[in-house]
Amino acid sequence: MADSSKIVEEYTKVESRRGLSVTSGASHMKLFDPRVLAMGKGEYGRLWSVVTLGLLISFSYIVQGIIIALILEDVFSGRPMAGSIPSFAGLVLIIALRWAMIWANDRIVARAATNIAISLRRRIYHKLYDLGPGWMLSQKSGVVQATIVDGAEALQNYYGRFLPQVIVSSLAGLAIMVILLYVDVIIGLVVGVMMVASLLQPLAIYRGVGSRIRVWFVAMPRLFAEYVDNVQGIVTLKSFNAGKRHGKLLDLKTNALYDAEIGILKDEILWGVPLGLVAAIGGTVAIVIGALRMDAGSLSAGGLLFVLLLVREALRPVTDLRQTIHFSFAGMGAAEGVLDILEAVPPAAAPVDPIAPGTLPPSIAFEGVTFRYRKGDAPAVDNFSFAVQPGEKVALVGRSGSGKTTVTSLLLRFFDPDEGAIRLGGEDIRRIRPERLRAMYSVVSQDTYLFHGTVRDNLLLAKPGASREELESATRAASAHDFITGLPKGYDTVVGERGVKLSGGERQRIAIARAILKGAPILVLDEATSNVDVANESLIRDALDRVARDRTTIIISHRLSAVRDADRIYVIEKGRLAESGSHSDLIRRNGDYHALLMAEGGSV
């Protein structure tokens, strides 16, 4: 087991460095964990029909066994077959009913389960919106996606299949035991022990290896992600002849994970053996005891036939439950991830007493703002102050990593400052509802995300009810109309995942059109041209100039050319304000701004 603990240790190390924890919660999660059961509150109402139908189906098998036992008894006691005709009619009726019930059951289970997933995904989504992009920064977006897609699916089976089956199997098992107790107390007890052992077996296995299974559930996707990473970067690896070496590293890790898997498997089987044995021999023991008691004259012929046929049925609820037990393991593995999101604390909480709605003048002020992404880090923004009056155009410039983009995140309240305050129209933004705050801004950032859908859909995101004229005047102003009409289906062209079918410059012009369409009073241009080909830059710059007219504008840029005509320029250096003033002021001061300008001048 040395290898398995090694890999667990390694993943734990990696994860803790990433600020995530694999094992902390996992080791305490039980099969019926109260947190997980509580998470399902609100979903259980859907499950009554599932439980009812499941019970009806289970009881139909019991009745079928009883009827067959009665027919067999008739034959053994030499009664004519004609007397059994009503029994046969009953059998056929039960079979037909069950046929319909199984059909209905599978539909109902599927509906209930997917409804649970739908509701869970909605809850996760709503929570994500509260947590916002600030929280996302600390996560791997792939893991969040997997939690929403696969995690909800694993839980839909936990809630929709496993939990109802627990009830159905327990009640059906209890019914069979009661009938057998009535036939013969000892046999009833033997079968009871057999069923309890079968039901406890998975719990024993889970107790023995549960925490390691869950670690495996975390480690496996990580290794998987590593494979994907290597395949995606294969050209790089190949050109450095590193493909084989990396392949070997992957092999080592794969082997270690394999050893862990086999270790779990061994333990799973070993933990399952004692109770499994009781369950496996229970049926045989019951039949042998039945034969012995019949021999001793303390059991009737009919009673023995009951035993023969119902012992088989006693295993059915147990088998059904076992088939769903894997869902429960997967569900537990997924629950952790879902709970992590649902219980996460938003980096910027909603206001307790939001200020009354009204019009806020579009002015902004940072007052001694300090912010760190993590406790103990150097501040990304350090005692920073600046102000923009309505209608002003203000620029923030500085080298990459100087803290400019953090300013945008703070403006939009993706995070709250550790110290100081940010004011909009004179009000602390912590007292403004986030939706209302964000409605004040149009933002164009360096990497524009386009959604899979048509160009039109992507534009309408900014203003759902916009008319065709509004749309086109926005795209014209953004110099985007011409290229859009040149696309195969014009405004109805599907832009592809992440907008891959468009060039960086085209995506950016759509982003600008979106900003125009939104028509918010404050415009934030965050490195709006830095991912654009040199050839497209001037087109986009013209478009931006048109938008910025008559609006309060904040330009964040590492290029100085776009900011020369700003009313005021703030130079940031390592999160601190280095100097500020107009273009000509700053040149005269011969400080950082001048140095940046010189560096840039040398580039062409």
Binding site: I102, R122, F240, N255, L277, L304, V534
Partner: protein, 598 residues
Amino acid sequence: MSHEHHDDHSLPVGQVFRKVRVIDHLLGTYRLSLQKVRITSVIVQVLGILTALTGAYLVGAVLTGATISDQLMTITLLALFTVMQFVLSNVNSYWSHVTAFRSLVEIRKAVYKKIDELAPAYVIERRSGDLARSALSDVNLLELYIAHTLPEFLQAIVVTPITLLVIGLIHWGLMIALAPFLVAAVTVPDWFARRAEEQGRAHRASAGEMSADVIDGVQGLREIVTFGAMEQSIKRLDASQQRYSDTYVSYEGRSGLERGSGDALLAMGMTVTVALGGWLTTRGYMDVALYPAATVLAAMAFVPIMNLMNIARQLSQTSAAAERVIGIMNAQPTVIDRAVSPPEGSIVPTLDFKEVRFCYAPELPEVLKGVTFGVSPGETVALVGRSGAGKSTCTYLMLRLWDPTVGSVRIGGHDLRDFPQEYLRDMIAYVPQDVYLFNVSVRENIRIGRGDATDAEVEDAARRAFALDFITALPDRWDTVLGERGATLSGGQRQRIAIARAFLKDAPILVMDEAVSSLDTESEANVRKAVKEVSRGRTTLIVAHRPSTIRSADRIIVLEEGRVAETGWFNELAENGGAFSRLMTAQVEITQPVDGAP
């Protein structure tokens, strides 16, 4: 997959059989353990039937007046079968999973090795990420096949006929009465085959759509939140979730119909056996002691078929996965080693393109139409031209990611095809346009350049690539895992990482594809210095976009529509009014008003 059912409407047993053979082919070395697992699983099943049979026989015997002391043999056998079945089923569960996991490990290794061999041509064609993901998750789906499908399949074709024969031994009439129900049960999946396939496809499509919408919603979170488009986005997700739920319900409903039909056929088969057996017994054609045994056996005969039906329901999914994996394994690489060892003698680092013609696929237009140029040892040559002129293609041919259709690329006068690929790539350091950063620390990302480099060497390479300043400013410095917690790098920083890799590799030839997008001022200056450093003393071919890079080259080669349009010094070309000066004017017009220091 789609045409399968139209071409041939065989029973599911036949479908499984063909697909099982395909999987076996993949698992070559594990065939023996697979056979072991399959045979054991049949024995386990037979033991289960024997247990039921002896139990029912014991009951029948006791009911017909036999004493327990007469039946000690039966009881011993019953106990033996019960325990043997328990032991063997646990052993087999272990074996089958070991075999399955082990095979997955091997298949995954083989697929990775194969993708390495096929890259980049195959990867590009299949849209990189999707291929990787599907290849790897498809392999995972095979577990179901190996650990479950194969054993269950064998049980159905071996155990059911044996059971039916044993019933025939009790009375031939029972066998004849039961057979139609068994045959009907086997064909149940076929009744719904077409609907199953359509529903399966619809469900997979809706699942893909939903997952894409989720990804869109997560990756576009910032846009959704800043535009206040939460309701719109939820509505969209709701719509695709609803479709997903609907297709799932109809898929499961149909599957329930199959399951219910199988169950009804089993119960009817048992009922008929009870009725006929009862009649035969009362008429004296059959020993009453065997009557319970016949009843129990009738039900047991169906068990393997029920298991097979469960498997058949997942068949289209898993076999499609298997076919994709096999598709990858059978693909032909674009470049094949024909030399085992490099040409003899020392190799001078000169580069030559001789009348090179190239197209990416026979049906695609030619990208290079007879390109000839050379680079002398230590010389830096800039390759310029409009996008689509074939510049990057030249770098791919240099690295032998593809081979020219006509003509040859040479190093030291030797055709690249005369070098083993590994040897060739040891001679060249490559700095691509889109630098791929792996999801590991910065340090490890640079170490890609040379696996055995020490930390000090890695740091030295970073220093020479002017990457030290931004690396030390990262949250966890050298241990920062790139792409996480906002530790993203700008275009210029990424290029400097790639240059640091090239420094580390220290190869005599440097091939570089300059970034197209604008870099921030500081990066641009640093990248320029780094390129100058790294190209010193190396034979260098740079695909250049920036005037400053072009100007600092020893010589310029202008590509136009797959041909060399002109070649010469910067000033020489800039003034002669040819292709190069046209290109420069176009660029300068755009770049000029952007800047301009006072």
